[in-house]
């Protein structure tokens, strides 16, 4: 059957005209978001003075505050079945993803595949994903930082001194161990992203969550490692694959919402271990 959306009963997830993934919440018409990929160009310099410091393994430092968009030149296909519905999307030659919704699960999975990042143009690139929602977050977002305590972050702000940022992108990036979210200032709405590894993240515009996915840089940042973050395997740059769980909605019943979030976070970090044994006759009663 020809179809152009997934999402089961909870969501309507489509690929919009620009190639971005558009998510509409079916039961909460006032909430939606769009997912898209972008990149920054890494700063390059001789590291002699602060202004000439390169972006590298230790520091993220884009060349300018300009975020670059990708031209979505790929295609997509849809898989639907009794257990899972998926959009398989190719963004370009080296970025693709699977967007997935399982039956009986409320999370939306974004399984991204990035690389090898091309550097033939001698420009280091740092690829990010953005979830742009209609929430009015008023410059505030939350990160779990060291995995112990979730902290409120405010764009272009530090709680104990007057801040003037000369590098607004890098200055607003914070560590995300497992979770990052934002809340609407006026309505009981929340949008959370759970990562499967530690990443860096920010919210450069209201309603937006941005996470760094993969970096390939051509200069050392002179903080000690003595190598550019230019990992190579099989004679080409690395390919990375990972998953974001996105979960959001109405927080009127905050206890239930928080409980679901905690379960999701544990599911990501303490996934079941799968062991395979060749088929053989066994005493099934014993195994039971």
């Amino acid at each position: 059957e020809s179809t152009n959306f997934i999402g089961g009963d909870l969501y309507t997830i489509t690929v919009d005209e620009s190639g971005h993934i558009a998510v509409q919440y079916n039961n909460q018409n006032d909430m939606n978001f769009v997912q898209s990929f972008h990149y920054y160009e890494g700063a390059e310099g001789n590291n002699k003075v602060f202004e000439n410091r390169s972006s590298g393994a230790y520091i993220f430092r884009p060349k300018t505050s300009e975020i670059h968009d990708f031209v979505y030149e790929g295609d997509y296909s849809i898989v639907k079945g009794p257990l899972v519905e998926e959009i398989h999307q190719n963004v370009n030659q080296w970025i693709s993803q699977v967007v997935r919704v399982y039956k009986q699960e409320e999370r939306i999975e974004f399984e991204w595949l990035i690389g090898p990042i091309p550097v033939e143009d001698k420009i280091g690139k740092e690829v990010v994903t953005k979830y742009t929602s209609n929430l009015n977050s008023d410059g505030e977002f939350y990160t779990d930082s060291n995995g112990r305590e979730t902290l409120k972050r405010k764009r272009d702000y530090r709680p104990t001194w007057n801040l003037k940022l000369y590098e607004p992108i890098a200055g607003n990036y914070y560590p995300v161990t497992t979770k990052m979210y934002l809340k609407d200032k006026n309505k009981p709405l929340k949008l959370s992203v759970f990562t499967d590894r530690s990443q860096g993240g920010t919210s450069m515009k209201d309603g937006e969550l941005e996470l760094m996915l993969h970096r390939r840089l051509l200069n050392d940042d002179a903080f000690g490692v003595g190598e550019a973050l230019n990992e190579v395997a099989y004679n080409t740059g690395l390919v990375v694959r990972g998953i974001h769980y996105v979960y959001g909605g109405n927080t009127k019943n905050l206890d239930a919402f928080t409980l679901k979030e905690k379960k999701l976070m544990l599911e990501q970090t303490l996934r079941p271990t799968i062991l395979v044994i060749p088929f053989m006759q066994k005493n099934i009663d014993n195994w039971r």
């Binding site: 393994a57 899972v84 399982y102 271990t273 395979v276």
Partner: protein, 176 residues
């Protein structure tokens, strides 16, 4: 105990700040990968012994061979994609019951998944692996599909056993 001790030592090394953040030199990163891989594989023996004990089969004459799928992140697992029939032990490391989905790289297009605990065949789905994943440099896998099924009520710090059997194709392919 010796295997476990080596694993503990490897995990100790992995707590160095360079290993946590990825700011180690490339050669060191390669060595960390080697350390982790060797110890994960060696600990299959520890896992096999534990499972045999739980299953009251420690006196069995059949040697239990347990393998872990370390490349599931790139939809690759030689043990599931090269077998028509295999048994899965799914262990829950959480201290609370969990229901979740399992995805296994396979070659065939139709499988029966049998839940030993419930004594029933359960619903499963075949999903094609995206082309870009098949093209990941260095990926040596024949799997073209993933078998998806739901694992219900995995006990806390416990396991469930599933048997997977490939079914013959029930449809005829048309030339087009």
């Amino acid at each position: 105990i010796e295997n476990l001790e080596k694993f503990r030592e490897a995990m100790g090394v992995m707590q160095h700040h360079d290993a946590v953040t990825g700011t180690e030199k490339q050669l060191v990163a390669n060595d960390y990968a080697r350390l982790l891989y060797e110890n994960l594989v060696n600990n299959n023996i520890v896992a096999a012994n534990s499972i045999y004990k739980w299953a009251n089969e420690k006196n069995s004459t059949t040697k239990l061979i347990v393998s872990s799928c370390l490349e599931l992140n790139i939809s690759s697992c030689p043990y599931t994609e090269n077998s028509r029939q295999f048994t899965l032990i799914i262990y829950n490391p959480q201290s609370q019951p969990v229901s979740t989905y399992v995805r296994l790289p396979v070659n065939g297009s139709s499988y029966e998944v049998f839940d030993w605990a419930e004594d029933i065949s359960i619903l499963s789905q075949i999903v094609p692996i995206p082309k870009r994943v098949l093209q990941i440099p260095g990926r040596e896998s024949k799997a073209t599909n993933e078998l998806v099924f739901r694992v219900n009520d995995l006990p806390p710090l416990g396991y469930k056993v599933y048997e997977v059997t490939e079914k013959p194709n029930t449809y005829e392919e048309t030339p087009s």
